[in-house]
Each structure stands twice: as structure tokens, then as C-alpha cells.
């Protein structure tokens, strides 16, 4: 098992000076599913941006998938995002008027793969999130939950080392939200490392690890060993998290 995220004494200050993060240490190992939870203004969004390499810390070190972010140029940082990080946003950010398949394929646009390969893998990723029959649907023809699943497919189509989900259920009703959370648990079961950023403590408590953030600091890092996953197959999948990672299905999608 390897370290996907390594933050050491990360501080982020904005001109003011306002300290959004004050000395955060956080380590995420491969195969983990964790919630980063905190009220608004707690610094969790800043933390997401730092982990997602969209922003650089004022002080401290950030290692993502083994790379020291501070040492990377914009080009290399972009390559790091293209190859190792997948984002899921509260507002989905799908391109309107473009089919689900092409929206997902867009997730591989900056990876250097040909369009044919991108589209093939996009179809596989959509199948993985249970939307195999919605390949040619446009976003406006999909429900909110389906849209978010398309966005998740876009985030995982490149087999990233880390999936960052920013309030993935924030724009969904509770049933769709629960379905999306279940999808994330399933993907985690297949070996994906996932960090869910949320203000919803209930969601965080349903995840195996819960990192509570307040006033720019990590105030608690709780393991929920008996994660109340209402899914009978959870127990079966648990070992794979410590094993060799990907399920056969995921490997197939990679080809």
C-alpha cells in the first residue's frame, strides 16, 4: 500500500492576512475512502484545492501520488492532474448539449489518447457507473443523480490515483444522493482512493474514515471501523482494498 496524499504542516494564507489552513497534516493511503467534513469557512474547500493541486500552499509540503507539488511547474502540475487526480463537483459541470459519452471522454482529453480510445474508455466508464444505456443522452435528458454519475465516470475514466468529490450530493435529493454515495463506495470497493469533501456530518459518518476540519485545522481523524454500509457485499469487497487494488472490471475498462 502506498501513500496517495501526504500533507505536512500545510498552511494557506490569503492576503489579509487570513489563514485558511493552519498547519494541516494529512496522509491518505491507497484504497482509502475518507470524508473531509467541516462547516463552511472551516477551510475544507481550501484543503480540497491544495490536495487537488489547483492551489499551492503558503507553507508546508504537499505530496500527491509521490510527487512533490512545490517542485512542479504548471505544465507538470497539469499533467499530474490529468493522470492522477479526478474531480467531482457539486454542480456536475457537464458540457451542455454534448452526449454523456463525450462528456466522459472529455476527462481524457488532456491525457494524449486518441479520440477513438477516449470514447471507448468513456463507454466503459459509463458502464462502470451503471449508465451503459445512457451513452448518447445529453445532460438535460438525465436526472440530477444520473448527471452526477456521468461526472463521476468522467473523473474515474483516467483511472486516477485519487478521486476528489466536492459535495457530490449537495445538489441532489436524498435518494439520488445516497445512490451516488453508494457508487463511490462501490468504486472504492474496486480499489479507488476517494476523498469526499462535505459539510454533511451524516455522510461523513457513513465513510470508513472521517477527517473533521475546523478553523483551518484538523480537529479529529476518526476511523469508523464498523462502517454502517447498508450493502451486503461490502464485507466481500473489503479485502480487495488492501489487496492488489483494481477489480477485473476496472482493468478491463482500462484497455
Amino acid at each position: 500500500m502506498s501513500t496517495v496524499v501526504g500533507l505536512r504542516a500545510v498552511t494557506k494564507e490569503y492576503p489579509g492576512p487570513v489563514a485558511a489552513l493552519r498547519g494541516v497534516d494529512l496522509t491518505v493511503e491507497e484504497g482509502e475512502l475518507l470524508g473531509i467534513v467541516g462547516p463552511s469557512g472551516s477551510g475544507k474547500s481550501t484543503l480540497l484545492h491544495i490536495i487537488g493541486t489547483l492551489d499551492r500552499p503558503t507553507a508546508g509540503s504537499v505530496h500527491i501520488a509521490g510527487h512533490d507539488v512545490a517542485a512542479l511547474s504548471d505544465r507538470r502540475l497539469s499533467a499530474l492532474r490529468a493522470q492522477h487526480i479526478g474531480f467531482v463537483f457539486q454542480a456536475f459541470h457537464l458540457v451542455p448539449g454534448v452526449s454523456a459519452r463525450d462528456n466522459v471522454a472529455e476527462g481524457l482529453l488532456y491525457s494524449g489518447l486518441s479520440r477513438a480510445v477516449r470514447r471507448r474508455r468513456a463507454a466503459a466508464a459509463l458502464e462502470r457507473v451503471g449508465l451503459a444505456d445512457r451513452l448518447d443522452h445529453k445532460p438535460h435528458q438525465l436526472s440530477g443523480g444520473q448527471r452526477q454519475r456521468v461526472a463521476i465516470a468522467r473523473a474515474v475514466v483516467g483511472e486516477p490515483a485519487l478521486l476528489l468529490a466536492d459535495e457530490p450530493t449537495g445538489a441532489l435529493d436524498s435518494a439520488s444522493g445516497e445512490a451516488v454515495m453508494q457508487l463511490l463506495r462501490d468504486l472504492n470497493g474496486e480499489g479507488a482512493t476517494i476523498a469526499v469533501i462535505t459539510h454533511d456530518t451524516e455522510i461523513a459518518q457513513g465513510l470508513p474514515r472521517e477527517v473533521r476540519v475546523r478553523d483551518g485545522q484538523v480537529v479529529a481523524d476518526v476511523r469508523n471501523p464498523s462502517t454502517n454500509v447498508p450493502n451486503p457485499s461490502a464485507a466481500v469487497r473489503t479485502p480487495s482494498r488492501n489487496g492488489n487494488g483494481r477489480s477485473p472490471a476496472a482493468t478491463g475498462a482500462d484497455q
Binding site: 451542455p96 488532456y110 494524449g112 490515483a161
Partner: protein
């Protein structure tokens, strides 16, 4: 992919060098056109400025070129091998200069000369009838003409007949198209009052671009003029056609041949040179109109830049998303420059089509050949690409400098 995963699993120290993938040309076009496809109305409106500018420039150049082509074509048809000898200004003021009677025959014997014709100005006037005042000439001169004149000038009779040996002896007259108009005569058969008697109009000529003076004449046969109008037989103008190669040689000896004793009194002119000069000025298109086209193009460019800036502001989200998907700053820049290039390129294409169509309509309605110079098309389209790049550069740089986190927050 496999190697990377293996690497990650073997310790994830990220030994592989991170290298941003290049966008393939097709993908550049794809991302560059995405913004355009989602807002077609705006594309049309902002490309319109460029289109109008290019269309103006293309049609200004095209119409000039078409007019010039028409003149050159005409010149080609009329030939450039015509020379005219006429009395020059006398060295002694006030003295009437006239050409010797035998000059027509002499010119015909110059080596290389193929055809010779002559006219002589007469004192008589041509009027509709005897009741019209004698001074009311309408600018029409009465000329005696040899039978060969029309062939030498490559002229045509619009209606009726040309003078022949028979009609040339009798009171019959052929009118140039301008004089026919001034006399109000539309068809042969009418009579006009010339030199104290009625002459019957037997023909009306078509326009003669090489000899506008004939267009304003009433032409009477050489022998008829002698018999009926007191003409003494001294030609005023001698027209000759020679082989193209001989034109310069003929020109050298023509004055001396026409009047061996006073060659300095003879003026030799080349009527096609006037037409050539006219063609040259037609080709020199109006720089004022061209300037207007340039201003329209500039305004169009500003419109494109404006649209691009708005597009960048509106699509901060998309920019943030693309950055999160791994787009480098350079790739964001390329996307927006490509979009701007496509926007103005579309305008340029539409402008070329519009300008060519406008030239076509003008040419068709004026009976001109349709000419759109390739250099104008290439230059105009090249200008749009330059404008597109310049207009897109600033918005593109702005887009690429946008912080991805701010971009994602902006909604």
C-alpha cells in the same frame, strides 16, 4: 498506463516524469469550436463585422479588376495596331493645315500597312431640317469618309448599311451613334439637312471606343462630298492598321509619308494608348473605399476581441473544469486563440463569398467579366487570421492566468 500503475503499486514514489500530453490538432479544433457550437447566434453576429470588412475589400478590388478586365478585353478586340495621322498645330499660327490629297494612297504603300481609311472635316452642318438655326450644330461634325474607314476602325453598323461606292456618290449619310441620338434619329430612312440639301440616313453606327470623334459625326461618301458639298479632297485624319510587329516602324515613317514637305505639321496618335491608360486607372481601385473596408475589418476585429473577452468571463467554469482535468495554461490559451481564429476565419470566409457575390452581381448587370483577384482573396483571408490571432490573444492569456480555484468558485 500499466507501467504507471505498477509503479504506483510498487511504492508510488512517482518515479515517472510527469509530462503534459500534447493536444492533437484535431482535439485543438474540437475544443476551439466547442464554444462556437454552443452559441451560434453570437458567432454569426460577431463574425458579421469581419465579413462586412472583407466583403467590402473584396468587392472594391473585384469590381475594379472586372472593369479593367473588360477594358483590356475590349482593347484586345479592337487591337493596338491602329495609328491616326492628323494635322498638327501649324508653326504659323492661324494658318489652316491640311493634309495632301494623295496622303491616303501614300500611307497605304508603307510596308506593313494593311488597311487605310480617311476622313475629312467639312464646313457643312447637319440639322434635322432647314428651319433649325445654322449655328445649332449639336456638336455634330460632317465628315467625308472613305469606304474603308469602318473596317479600319473595326466598327459595326448598328442598323442600316455602311456607305458603298454607289451610295457614297449620292446624298446619303451614315450617323455615329451619338449624332443619331442628338438628331433624334433612331432608324435609317429619315432625312437630315446637310449643306443646303437633304441627305438620307442609310445607317447608324455602333459605338466606336477607338474613335470617339466618329461617334459624333455625320459621314458622307468621299465622292458624294466632292460632288454635293464642295469638298476638295484633302483628308483631315488618316487611319491605318498595320501588322502588330510593324506598328513602331510605321509610326516612324508615317508623318513623312503623309506630308513629305512638312512632316512637322503631322500629328500621329495611337488611340489604343488612351484606352490603355483608362484601363490602368480603372485598375487603380478607389483607395477611399478600400480604406472603408479596412475600417470595417478593424471594427470587426474589435467585435471578435469583445466576444472573446465575454466568452472567457462566461466560461470561467469551463476553464476551471479543464484545468482540473489537466489542461495546461498553454492548452487553455490555444483553445481560446483557436476559437478566435475560427470565429474570424468564418467571418473571413463569409466575407470572401459575399464580396465575390457582390462583384458577380455588379459584373453580371454591367456585362463585365467576373474577376476576383486571388491575391485579394488570399490577402483578405490572411488579414482575418491575423486579426483573429490578435483579437484572441489577450482574452486567451486572461483565460490561462485565471486561477483554477477562482474559476470553479465563480458560480
Amino acid at each position: 498506463m500499466r507501467a504507471r500503475r505498477a509503479d504506483r503499486e510498487a511504492g508510488g514514489r512517482g518515479r515517472e516524469r510527469l509530462r503534459a500530453a500534447r493536444l492533437r490538432p484535431r482535439d485543438v479544433l474540437h475544443v476551439g469550436s466547442a464554444g462556437l457550437r454552443s452559441r451560434p447566434v453570437r458567432v454569426v453576429l460577431s463574425a458579421l463585422g469581419i465579413a462586412i470588412g472583407i466583403a467590402t475589400m473584396i468587392s472594391v478590388v473585384g469590381i475594379s479588376a472586372s472593369s479593367q478586365a473588360q477594358l483590356l478585353r475590349e482593347l484586345d478586340k479592337l487591337g493596338t495596331n491602329l495609328l491616326v495621322a492628323s494635322p498638327g498645330d501649324s508653326m504659323f499660327a492661324g494658318q489652316d493645315v491640311e493634309l495632301p490629297e494623295e496622303s491616303v494612297g501614300m500611307v497605304g504603300r508603307i510596308e506593313g500597312v494593311q488597311e487605310v481609311g480617311a476622313t475629312a472635316d467639312l464646313d457643312a452642318t447637319a440639322r434635322r431640317n432647314e428651319k433649325i438655326d445654322k449655328d445649332d450644330t449639336g456638336g455634330i461634325t460632317v465628315k467625308a469618309t472613305t469606304g474603308d474607314l469602318l473596317r479600319v476602325l473595326r466598327g459595326e453598323v448598328r442598323s442600316g448599311r455602311w456607305l458603298d461606292n454607289a451610295t457614297g456618290r449620292y446624298p446619303s449619310v451614315v450617323l455615329g451613334h451619338v449624332s443619331a441620338e442628338r438628331l433624334g434619329i433612331t432608324a435609317p430612312g429619315r432625312q437630315v439637312w446637310i449643306g443646303g440639301r437633304y441627305f438620307t440616313v442609310i445607317g447608324i453606327l455602333a459605338p466606336l471606343p477607338l474613335a470617339p470623334e466618329i461617334e459624333r459625326s455625320a459621314l458622307v461618301g468621299w465622292e458624294g462630298a466632292k460632288r454635293l458639298l464642295g469638298f476638295e479632297g484633302h483628308p483631315t485624319s488618316v487611319y491605318e492598321r498595320s501588322a502588330d510587329a510593324a506598328v513602331q516602324d510605321v509610326r516612324k515613317v508615317m508623318a513623312a509619308t503623309v506630308d513629305p514637305r512638312n512632316p512637322q505639321n503631322v500629328k500621329v496618335t495611337d488611340p489604343s494608348s488612351a484606352l490603355r491608360a483608362k484601363a490602368a486607372t480603372e485598375g487603380a481601385f478607389s483607395s477611399l473605399l478600400l480604406g472603408l473596408g479596412g475600417i470595417a475589418l478593424l471594427v470587426g476585429g474589435v467585435g471578435v476581441a469583445n466576444t472573446m473577452i465575454i466568452s472567457v468571463l462566461e466560461r470561467r467554469y469551463e476553464i476551471g473544469l479543464r484545468r482540473s482535468l489537466g489542461a495546461t495554461r498553454g492548452q487553455i490559451r490555444i483553445q481560446f486563440v483557436t476559437e478566435s481564429l475560427m470565429l474570424s476565419g468564418l467571418g473571413g470566409l463569409a466575407g470572401v463569398a459575399l464580396g465575390a457575390a457582390a462583384t458577380g452581381v455588379y459584373a453580371y448587370s454591367g456585362g463585365l467579366p467576373w474577376v476576383v483577384p486571388p491575391w485579394a482573396v488570399g490577402g483578405g483571408f490572411g488579414a482575418t487570421l491575423v486579426i483573429g490571432t490578435i483579437a484572441g490573444l489577450y482574452p486567451a492569456v486572461r483565460a490561462s492566468r485565471l486561477s483554477p480555484t477562482l474559476a470553479l468558485h465563480a458560480a
